[in-house]
Symmetry: C2
Subunit: 352 residues, 2 copies
């Protein structure tokens, strides 16, 4: 399982106390509980149960536990597993959050508004000697990058845009590597990934001068046959977030990149004036820039979102794209033979 593949996080990363009790708030729609479902799917070993408040009757399928019951079963933190517009902590959640603090759990949030902003939570945390942990806040004292070549192997997922499968692809590759007995760590760069991995750095929240330094810290020296599979962020062609992508690329010094793309998307999410770059452009630009810190960087293949196609059409489409690009092309949501070939190519096993 993925949790076993993650191992001990290096020092100085943002470490999240675990295992978790997943808090579902008073939400009834699954679309607002992506974090909770992501944790259930990708870090089941870190999740002892779920808890809710009010009329919300959503379930992840995990056992319903009070904070006290969860603490008795080993839980050390309650993770806010739901979101709402604005990213705020609702007042209607306060009683439940304070109950968790009283039961000995830290509160962990990936929401925009810091937990500390709420005086009620701040006071309760102090009273019960617990921590309020915002995974959007980077660790202090990140050094500037040195560019020094590190030992071990690294894979970075990159994309033609935000939100089209870079995290999912990295997780699926990590799981596939682990299932083959490869020594592998998933390295998280965004809040959901950090909750799944139990550590990481929220790369978009790092000061630009330290962006590459943070990426260097995230994937430290490792054994020669060890792989870090690093969750990509943004896109080199994104008018707002390219700064994050390039700092992450240079600091990660990947040996292998996998380009993630949604063939249905025509323009950058939220910026309709900007056409999506092609997979080829993205690959070429990433390799050209990536060579600066790793002259041996290569593209192992492409990860496509084919959720708009049925099984047969998806299989044909992936085969066509693979022939056109002369690279393994897979949808990690579908697994099967194309995904195995992509994983082979990442590991340098050429079968195409």
């Amino acid at each position: 399982m993925i949790a076993e593949a993650i191992g001990m996080p290096p020092r100085s990363l943002l470490d999240v106390p675990q295992p978790y009790l997943l808090f579902l708030g008073d939400i009834s729609e699954a679309a607002y509980a992506k974090t909770a479902f992501g944790l259930r799917d990708w870090a089941p070993e870190r999740c002892v149960g779920e808890f809710a408040c009010g009329q919300g009757r959503l379930s992840t399928g995990l056992p319903y536990l009070t904070p006290a019951e969860a603490h008795a079963r080993g839980a050390r933190a309650m993770v806010i597993g739901v979101a709402n517009a604005g990213g705020a902590i609702l007042e209607s959640w306060h009683a439940a959050l304070i109950e968790a603090l009283a039961a000995g759990l830290d509160i962990v949030s990936g929401m925009h508004v810091p937990l500390e902003r709420s005086p009620a939570l701040r006071d309760a945390a102090r009273r019960y000697g617990r921590h309020l942990i915002d995974v959007r806040r980077p660790p202090p004292d990140i050094p500037t990058a040195t560019g020094r070549k590190r030992t071990g192997k690294r894979l970075l997922t990159v994309g033609t845009d935000c939100a089209l499968g870079k995290k999912y692809t990295a997780l699926a590759i990590t799981r596939e590597f682990a299932s083959r007995g490869v020594d592998v760590d998933f390295r998280a760069t965004g809040q959901t990934g950090i909750l799944i991995a139990g550590s990481g750095i929220p790369m978009d929240a790092v000061v630009a001068d330290f962006e590459s330094g943070a990426a260097e810290m995230l994937s430290p020296d490792a054994a020669a046959d060890h792989w870090d599979v690093i969750e990509g962020q943004g896109s080199l062609f994104h008018p707002a977030f390219s700064s994050v992508s390039l700092g992450l690329l240079h600091g990660s010094q990947p040996d292998v990149i996998v380009v993630c793309h949604d063939p249905q998307r025509r323009t950058i999410l939220g910026l309709p004036g900007f056409p999506l770059p092609s997979v080829e452009e993205t690959m070429e630009m990433t390799l050209a820039l990536g060579r600066r810190t790793n002259p041996g960087v290569r593209c192992a293949g492409v990860s496509l979102n084919t959720s708009h196609l049925d099984e047969g059409a998806a299989t044909r489409f992936l085969a066509e794209e693979s022939a056109r690009l002369r690279l393994p092309v897979a949808d990690p949501m579908r697994r099967g033979e194309p995904f195995e070939r992509l994983a082979d190519a990442c590991l340098g096993i050429t079968t195409i």
Copy 2:
């Protein structure tokens, strides 16, 4: 003069109270007073005089004034115009700094260690109702970038490395434009530039997710024939600071770039394992990435540091480089005909 060309800064930039009294500390070597000399040379209208303490007998040539005399002549801030290893405010400076606060001057610093870190200065500022202003601290509430094309024209200096003339080149071009009657603003992105301009954003201190947004804020909509000449930062090929450079490039959406280079430098400053990229590579990569937010971006020419050559050799070298690159090539420290041709090319006047 440059100060007249700078005009009113847009709202939300870091605004520095002025004019300045330049503080030289107890420094005796000019090498440690680059900020003071830079302000004297590039913003004489903002400098009413100089002040020092202890045994330091350095002078910028400006009149020596006590803080009270400077305040009477209109000064509104005392700028720390000297640096020391570590970037700290020395205790031996405290009495002089507090004298300035008592005389009604704010204290402005571009040093690494924040002024607020000193309880003595913090207390004195509160007592006298003055401000401690760190120009390394970006303004709050920077939005993420939108990529929206702004009105007016923009020039960005870019480089093969840090610290090889991007600020100087931008200032020299601003001054040349202004002397030709062009409506121009110098847009500062680093602490010395911000002190010279009286406003700006320290781009290296901005959180990566907002880097391009800060660059958009720095050069707002302007009249169609207005030029913003933007001080570049870092290099797209810098293993540590490329994040700053790409965010600044995308957010600046320049119409024109000028590549700055030091032909004597073989490797990245402080990172001897990294060869300097060539002028051509830098130009091509900047144009390829810059087209994303301004498809019309072009390279007007190259700015070279020729301080290692005598006048005749420099003239020959610039001419050779210009022929080789098929672009105007000048050393802005030398001015003269090559620099005029570079300025012509920036403005779209083709004479080569």
